[in-house]
Subunit: 586 residues, 2 copies
C-alpha cells in the first residue's frame, strides 16, 4: 500500500555509488540549464525571476519521492508559464501582489486536481485532449510565447496577449525599438542557434571526446548568460536603455499557504484544470518516451500524484505551476541520470545558486532571457502537423485548425475549449451515424449479408437489419429512424429482426430507443425480434423489462429467425442448395 | 428541391373533403385546450397571457406548411416555458419590457439555430442529450414548474426559481396564503383530476357514444375555465384576494422584429440552444410515436426547419418559444387530425378567440391557469425512471441523478449542462478502456485467442495483442500504455504484433499513438507489426507516413505473422496437429 504511493521505496534501497556519480553529473548539467530557464519562464509567466527558481526546488524534491520516471526533469516550462500568465492576467494587473497570488493559487488548484485524479485513477480525463488539439495548441502557444517576448527582445513597450493585440502594438511601437537591446538579442540568438550543433563540434576540435563535447555543449545557455552579464556590466548598457534583471532576493523562499480568496479560486478553477491536464499530457508523454528507451515503465496514476504534489509544493513555496519539461528531460536523460535522485540533487544545487549566485544576476539583460525562451519554443513549433493531419483525416485537421486559430486570435483557454469541443462534436457526429446494413440471405447458405453489397434473397414481410456498432446515446436515434422509415416504406411489413452480432453494449438511451421501436412497431401490428445477441448484452437486457415487453422473439442466429419467420424463403434456399449439390455430385 | 423544403406540396394537392371534416373537428378540440393552456404557459414563462395565444397562431401556420408530422400540435409547452422564464429572468426583472424582449429573442435565436441545424442536416447535435438526461431533466423541470405555481395556487407571494429558494419562501409566506384562492384551486384541481376518466364516463351515462364522450371529455379545461370565471365574477372573488387575469388586448398581435441588442443576444445564445435542443428532442419523439401508429414517416431535417420557422414566427409576432406538445398532440391525433391543415385551422380559431373572446377572460382566476399547468406537468413526472435506469446501468443512472439534483437545486440550464457533461465524461471513461486481449495460438489451429480465457501457446519473444474497438482519441493512450508495460515487463521481447481485426477506424490521435509505439519499440530494439488490418483502415494508413516508418511488417493474418516471427512455435503446433490427426486416423 505504502509502496503504491511511494515509488522511492522501489529504487532508494538499491541505490549504488555508480548511480550517484551519474545522477550528480546529470543534475549539474540540468542545473546549468535550469537557472536561466527558470528565471526566463518566470518572466514569461509575468512573475519575478525568483519564482522560477523556487519552482525548481521543492517541486523537484517532491517529484523525486513520488514520481516513477527516472529521467523526467520537472520545473517551470514554457507552455504552462504562458497559460499561467493568461489566467492570472484575467484577475489582476501584471506585477501586482494579486497577480502572483493568482499564480500561486493556479499551482495549488492544478496540483490538488492532479492529486485527486491520481488517487481516484481519473487519468482518463486527459483523453479529452486529442493529439491534434494538443499539437495545434502547443504550436499556437509557441507563437504567442514568441510574440509575448518581443517587448524584451526589442526593448519596446509592445503589449497584448493575442496576435490581434500584439501586431498593432508592434507597429505602433516600431519607433520605440531599442537598438542596443535588439543588437544584444540578435547576438545571443545567433550564438544559441549556432551552439546547438556548432559548440559541440568546436569543443571536439579542441580535442574533447564526442560525448563530453556534447555534454559541455549544453553549457551554451550558461555561456550566453555569463557573456551577456559581462557585456551589460562592462559597457554599462543599462544606461543605454537595456533592461536588466536587477535585485533578486537571496536565500530560500518563504513557505506557507497564500491568502485564501474564494472568489479568486472560483475564477481560477477552470484555467487550473486546463493547466493540470495540458501539463500532465505533456509530462507523461515525455516520461513514457524516455522510459521506453530503457524498457522501464511509467505508472500514470503515480505520475498524477507526483505532479500534483509538485504543484502543491510550488504553491506553498512562492513559486509557479510546474510540470515535466521536454528539453531538460532529454538533457537529463542524455547526461545519464539513472534515478529520480538526480532531480533531488538538481533542487539542492538550485538552492545553492539562489543562496550564493543571485547577486551575479543583477546585470543579466532581460533580452537574454527572452532569447532563451525564444530558442526553447522554436522546438515546439510544428507547422507541418496541420497539412499532415488534414490529409489523414478532415475531422482531426479541422479540430487542430480551430484550436490554433482560436488560440492565436482569442486566447489560450478559449483555444483549448474550442478544440476539445469541436473534437467531441465531430466524434459524436461520426458515432451518431453507425454503419447500418439491411441484410438478406446469401442463397444456399445460412449467411446473411448486406443487400447493397451481395446478391441475397429477402422476404418483403421481414425486415432484417444489422448495426455494426454498440448501441449508445450518440447513435440511439439512428437505428430508430431507419426502422421507422422502413415501416413507412413497406406496407406489407410484418416482422423486424435486429441482428445484434456486432453490439457489445446497449446503454440506457439505446434501451429506451429499442423500447420505443418495439412500441411503435407493435402499434403498427409489426413484431420486433432480435437475433445473435451476445451473452453480456443479454444479461444486461435481462436487468430491464425490455424482454418481457418485446413483441417478438430472441433468436440464437439470424438463420433461426428467418427459418421461423419466413420458412418458405429459407426452405427454397436450402432446396436450391440441395439441387446445386446434386448437380455437383452428378 | 422545392418539395424537399415544402412538405405541404406532398399532401395539399390531394386534400379531400373527408379530411377537411376530420381536421376541423380535431382543430376545434385542440383550440378548446389551447386557449387556456396557451395563457397558462405564458403565465409560467412570466409573460402576459396574450403571448401564449399569439404563440398558437403564426407558428402553427408555419408548421403546417413546413412540418412533416400529420398529428403534431405545435405551440407553447410547459418545459420550454419554464426554460424561457429561467433564461429571461437572468437578464431582466419579471414583468418589465426587457423581460418580454428576452423571451422574443429566445424564440428568434432558438428558431434560427433549429433552422440552421435543419438546412445543414445537423440534427445529430441532439444526440448529445441522452435519454436518461432528458428524462431526469423533464421530471425535475416538472417539479420546478409545480413549485413555481404555488404563488398562484395559494395566492401568496412565494418566489424563487429552485427548490432551495422556493421552500424557505413558502414557509415564510405560510401566513399570507389566501383561503379563497386555495379553495378555488382545490376545487378546480379536484374537477380536472376527476374529469380525466370521470367526465367521459358521465357523458356516456347520459347516452352519448363512447368516442364522442371521450372527445367531449377533453372539454374539461373549457368547463373549468368557464365555471371559475362565473364563480369569480358572480361572487366578486377578486375583492376577497383572488388574483384575476384582467385586461387582455383584443385583436391580432403586432408583427415585427423586436429591438436588436447584441449583448442580450450573446447572453441568450446558450440558453436558446438548450431550448432549441430540448424542444426538438421532445417534439420529434412525439411526432415519431404518432406517425408510427399510422405507418407514416417523419423527416428529422424537415422537422428542424419547421420548428425553426415556427419559433422565428413566434419571435416576430410578440409570442414566446414554441415546440410540439405531448398532450395536445395526442388529443389532436385521437380527435382524428389527418393533415397539418388541422394546425392551420387551430391557428385560425385561436385568432378568432383572440379577436372575440378576450373580454370574457377578464375574470379568469390565475389560480385556474395554475391548476391547468399543475395537471399538465403531473404527466411529465416519472419518479420510477431513476431506480429503473440505475438498475440497468450505473453510469446512466448517475447522469440522470446529477441532472435532476442540479436542476432542482441550482437551475434548469446548469442541470442540463451537468447531465450532458457527466454523460460525456462517463462515456469517454468507458470508451477510454477498450477491451484489450493478449492473444496466443490455440494449439493445432490457426486461431489466436485471449490468453486469459483459452489454453493457448505463446512465444515470450513475440507479444501479440488484440483491441476490440476502433482506435480513436479516448482510447489512444490505453493501447500505448499496455504495450509500453509489456516492453518493461518482458526483457526477452523482440516483436510486438497488433491484431487489428476489430479496428474499423484509426483517427489522428491513435495514428500518433501508433507512431509513438513504433518509435518507442524501435528505440528499445523491438519491431512492431500489424496483422489482419481491414481494407478501409489500410487505405487510411496509406495516406500517412506510418507504413514507411513501421519497423515491422503488415501481415494478412495473425497466423502469417506468427509463422514468420516464431516459426518454431507454429511448426510445433502444426506438428502436434499432424500427430493428433495421425492418431485419429490410426
Amino acid at each position: 500500500m505504502l509502496a503504491r504511493y511511494l515509488p522511492i521505496l522501489a529504487w532508494a534501497p538499491q541505490y549504488r555509488r555508480a548511480s550517484l556519480t551519474n545522477d550528480l553529473i546529470a543534475a549539474m548539467v540540468v542545473t546549468i540549464m535550469l537557472v536561466p530557464q527558470g528565471m526566463a519562464y518566470a518572466m514569461l509567466a509575468g512573475l519575478p525571476p525568483q519564482a522560477g527558481l523556487y519552482g525548481a526546488m521543492l517541486p523537484l524534491l517532491l517529484y523525486a519521492v513520488f514520481g516513477t520516471s527516472r529521467s523526467l526533469a520537472v520545473g517551470p516550462v514554457a507552455v504552462v508559464a504562458l497559460m499561467t500568465a493568461a489566467a492570472a492576467g484575467t484577475v489582476a494587473e501584471l506585477g501586482t501582489p494579486g497577480y502572483h497570488l493568482a499564480a500561486l493559487w493556479l499551482a495549488l488548484l492544478s496540483g490538488g486536481m492532479l492529486l485527486i485524479m491520481g488517487i481516484f485513477r481519473m487519468g482518463f480525463i486527459a483523453s479529452f485532449l486529442s493529439h491534434p488539439v494538443i499539437s495545434g495548441f502547443i504550436t499556437a502557444a509557441g507563437i504567442l510565447i514568441a510574440a509575448s517576448q518581443l517587448r524584451h527582445l526589442l526593448g519596446a513597450p509592445i503589449s497584448g496577449k493575442t496576435l490581434p493585440e500584439v501586431i498593432p502594438s508592434l507597429i505602433e511601437n516600431i519607433g520605440a525599438i531599442s537598438l542596443v537591446t535588439t543588437a544584444l538579442s540578435a547576438a545571443v540568438l545567433a550564438f544559441l542557434l549556432w551552439s546547438r550543433a556548432g559548440l559541440a563540434l568546436l569543443l571536439q576540435r579542441f580535442g574533447l571526446s564526442a560525448p563530453l563535447a556534447k555534454l559541455l555543449g549544453k553549457t551554451a545557455l550558461l555561456i550566453a548568460v555569463l557573456a551577456s552579464i559581462l557585456v551589460a556590466w562592462g559597457l554599462g548598457l543599462d544606461r543605454f536603455g537595456l533592461a536588466i534583471l536587477g535585485d533578486i532576493p537571496r536565500g530560500l523562499p518563504e513557505f506557507g499557504l497564500p491568502d485564501f480568496d474564494l472568489s479568486l479560486i472560483q475564477i481560477l478553477a477552470a484555467p487550473a484544470l486546463m493547466i493540470a491536464i495540458v501539463g500532465y499530457v505533456e509530462s507523461i508523454s515525455i516520461a513514457q518516451t524516455l522510459a521506453a528507451k530503457k524498457r522501464e515503465s511509467i505508472n500514470a496514476d503515480n505520475e498524477l500524484v507526483a505532479l500534483g504534489l509538485a504543484n502543491l509544493g510550488a504553491g506553498v513555496s512562492n513559486a509557479m505551476p510546474v510540470t515535466g519539461g521536454l528539453s531538460r528531460s532529454i538533457v537529463n536523460y542524455d547526461a545519464g541520470a539513472e534515478t529520480p535522485a538526480a532531480g533531488a540533487m538538481t533542487a539542492a544545487m538550485i538552492a545553492l545558486a539562489v543562496i550564493a549566485l543571485t547577486p551575479l544576476m543583477y546585470y543579466l539583460p532581460r533580452a537574454t532571457l527572452a532569447v532563451i525562451i525564444l530558442v526553447a519554443v522554436l522546438s515546439l513549433l510544428d507547422f507541418r502537423a496541420l497539412p499532415r493531419t488534414w490529409a489523414y483525416s478532415r475531422a482531426d485537421g479541422a479540430a487542430m485548425a480551430a484550436t490554433m486559430v482560436v488560440t492565436l486570435l482569442i486566447g489560450v483557454e478559449q483555444g483549448l475549449v474550442a478544440g476539445v469541443g469541436l473534437s467531441l462534436v465531430l466524434y459524436l457526429y461520426r458515432t451518431s451515424r453507425p454503419h447500418i446494413a439491411v441484410v438478406g440471405q446469401v442463397p444456399g447458405t445460412e449467411h446473411f449479408r448486406n443487400i447493397e453489397r451481395h446478391k441475397v434473397e429477402c422476404d418483403a414481410r421481414v425486415f432484417s437489419i444489422r448495426v455494426d456498432e454498440s448501441l449508445y446515446f450518440p447513435n440511439a436515434r439512428a437505428l430508430e429512424d431507419r426502422i421507422v422509415r422502413a415501416l413507412a416504406e413497406t406496407p406489407e411489413l410484418e416482422h423486424v429482426v435486429l441482428q445484434a452480432n456486432a453490439v457489445n453494449y446497449i446503454d440506457a438511451s439505446a434501451l429506451e430507443s429499442l423500447e420505443a421501436i418495439n412500441e411503435r412497431l407493435n402499434a403498427a401490428g409489426v413484431r420486433f425480434h432480435l437475433s445473435e445477441v451476445k451473452g453480456p448484452v443479454m444479461d444486461q437486457l435481462k436487468r430491464s423489462h425490455f424482454l418481457d415487453e418485446l413483441s417478438g422473439e430472441v433468436y440464437l442466429t439470424q438463420f433461426d429467425a428467418m427459418s421461423a419467420l419466413s420458412p418458405e424463403l429459407t426452405r427454397a434456399s436450402v432446396e436450391a442448395e440441395r439441387t446445386d449439390t446434386r448437380r455437383v455430385l452428378a
